[in-house]
């Protein structure tokens, strides 16, 4: 351990056990980190598409998405830039529901999530199935603000938040891994906050 001269923990309170190593609680604020210009998306032309190695490539309109069985996440989110936001609620649809319709082939192993902006992020299929991932359009019971990815974003809360693609437009199902935007730009391929998988080589 390399102690910094003069540095002390500010609060005597015990560290919240919900915080992964190296993270701090951002409290009520919610930082916005986006690498591109914020897009304005029209709900009438909005689509979410699951394609690639699936039995039935499927595209949902906004209204069709809203009609799917609702699913909610209550928990925490963790950004690689070291903030975490505890006790948040997002609602939308489970990715399991979408994949149950599109039916990935047995050779499928990974997905690339795509955004309306061209942003991409890659995930093993196991990180977006069995209740691990959602497409969400509500935050705290209100429509998801555009700066936080509205109208809808991917939510993969057990991984660093760059995996939760804003303005998500679909999933491409693959039989191999394909680095996404940040993964090709020095960040970790998987991004587990509890293992501090922040950058390549961690």
């Amino acid at each position: 351990m390399n102690v910094t001269r003069g540095f002390r923990r500010r609060s005597r309170q015990a560290r919240d056990s919900r915080l992964p190593p190296g993270q701090y609680d951002v409290g009520d604020s919610w930082p916005v980190l986006t690498a591109e210009a914020t897009p304005r998306l029209d709900l009438t032309s909005w689509r979410f598409t699951v394609e690639g190695l699936v039995d039935r490539p499927t595209s949902w309109t906004w209204d069709e998405m809203q009609a799917l069985p609702a699913s909610t996440y209550d928990g925490d989110i963790h950004c690689v830039t070291t903030w975490s936001k505890l006790g948040v609620t997002f609602s939308g649809v489970s990715v399991d529901t979408l994949l149950a319709v599109a039916r990935p082939l047995s050779s499928a192993s990974h997905v690339v999530a795509t955004s309306a902006t061209g942003y991409t992020t890659n995930l093993p299929l196991s990180d977006v199935t069995k209740g691990h991932a959602w497409v969400v359009w509500e935050y705290g019971g209100r429509p998801l603000p555009v700066e936080h990815g509205g109208p809808a974003r991917l939510l993969v809360p057990h991984l660093y938040f760059w995996k939760s693609a804003k303005w998500v437009s679909g999933l491409r199902v693959l039989d191999h891994d394909e680095p996404g935007f940040w993964e090709a730009n020095g960040y970790h391929n998987r991004g587990d906050p509890w293992l501090e998988e922040r950058y390549q080589g961690d």
Partner: protein, 240 residues
């Protein structure tokens, strides 16, 4: 990408840097010059993570953009804005002196970088000028300042980082609240007329500032003719 394009540097492990110089940039910002044990070449626009460790093992880490141009040395400069209640920034401002050591890791980021060989329009709000200053310094060092146009928006003259070094034919300064005496442009928020016209052909836009500023600046660049896909944004701070 061509063969001559350097790959994105992979951030190394944590290393212990020595603070070799500290100087104030504005009343609320200080520049720290750090000597790294290992020479770690960075690209203009990249950042380092600074980590503080308490005797009980508690750590706090934040990211800071590199202000200095890549120069082949083992030294980098970061400029740190003192945030109200900022755990790391206030420690750096109030406690750290020349000779201290701090842990750093980097360089990080392969998107918000300029490699010095293509036209670019840089737009900064306040402390967002830091990574863009690394780009300006790189361009001037290489004798290619003609590739860059830099627009910096600050509230008041006293808030301008690198004020002596910044000014030049490639630089426009916008004062939103109070301008210096005899400054022709009246104080006011940045508008499209403050941006280069026409936009340099093939230019990439780099926007850095608060989230609100970044949205405004990106919209202005689009209005001035830059395609949204050519705009790279680095934001900081919460939504209001």
């Amino acid at each position: 990408m061509t063969d001559s394009t350097p790959a994105v540097p992979i951030p190394g492990r944590w290393q212990t840097a020595v603070v070799v110089e500290v100087h104030p940039e504005t009343p609320s910002a200080k520049t720290f010059r750090l000597r790294l044990p290992d020479r770690s070449p960075h690209l203009a626009g990249q950042h380092y993570v600074v980590r503080l460790t308490a005797p009980d093992g508690y750590t706090a880490a934040r990211s800071y953009s590199v202000a200095s141009a890549p120069d082949g040395s083992a030294e980098i400069e970061i400029t740190v804005e003192r945030l109200p209640d900022g755990e790391v920034s206030s420690f750096l401002h109030d406690e750290v002196v020349v000779g201290d050591t701090i842990e750093v890791r980097g360089p990080i980021g392969g998107w918000f970088v300029w490699r010095g060989d293509s036209p670019a329009v840089l737009v900064a709000g306040g402390s967002g000028v830091v990574p863009l200053m690394a780009m300006l310094r790189l361009a001037r060092r290489a004798g290619r300042a003609d590739l860059l146009r830099l627009v910096v928006s600050v509230r008041r003259p006293v808030d301008l980082y690198y004020s002596q070094e910044l000014v030049g034919p490639e630089t426009t300064i916008v004062y939103s609240r109070e301008s210096p005496p005899a400054f022709l442009r009246p104080p006011g928020h940045m508008v499209e007329q403050d941006l280069p016209s026409p936009m340099p052909v093939g230019a990439t836009g780099y926007v850095c500032g608060s989230s609100g500023f970044a949205d405004v600046a990106a919209s202005l660049l689009i209005g001035a003719g830059l395609s949204a896909s050519m705009i790279r944004v680095e934001r900081f701070g919460p939504t209001r």
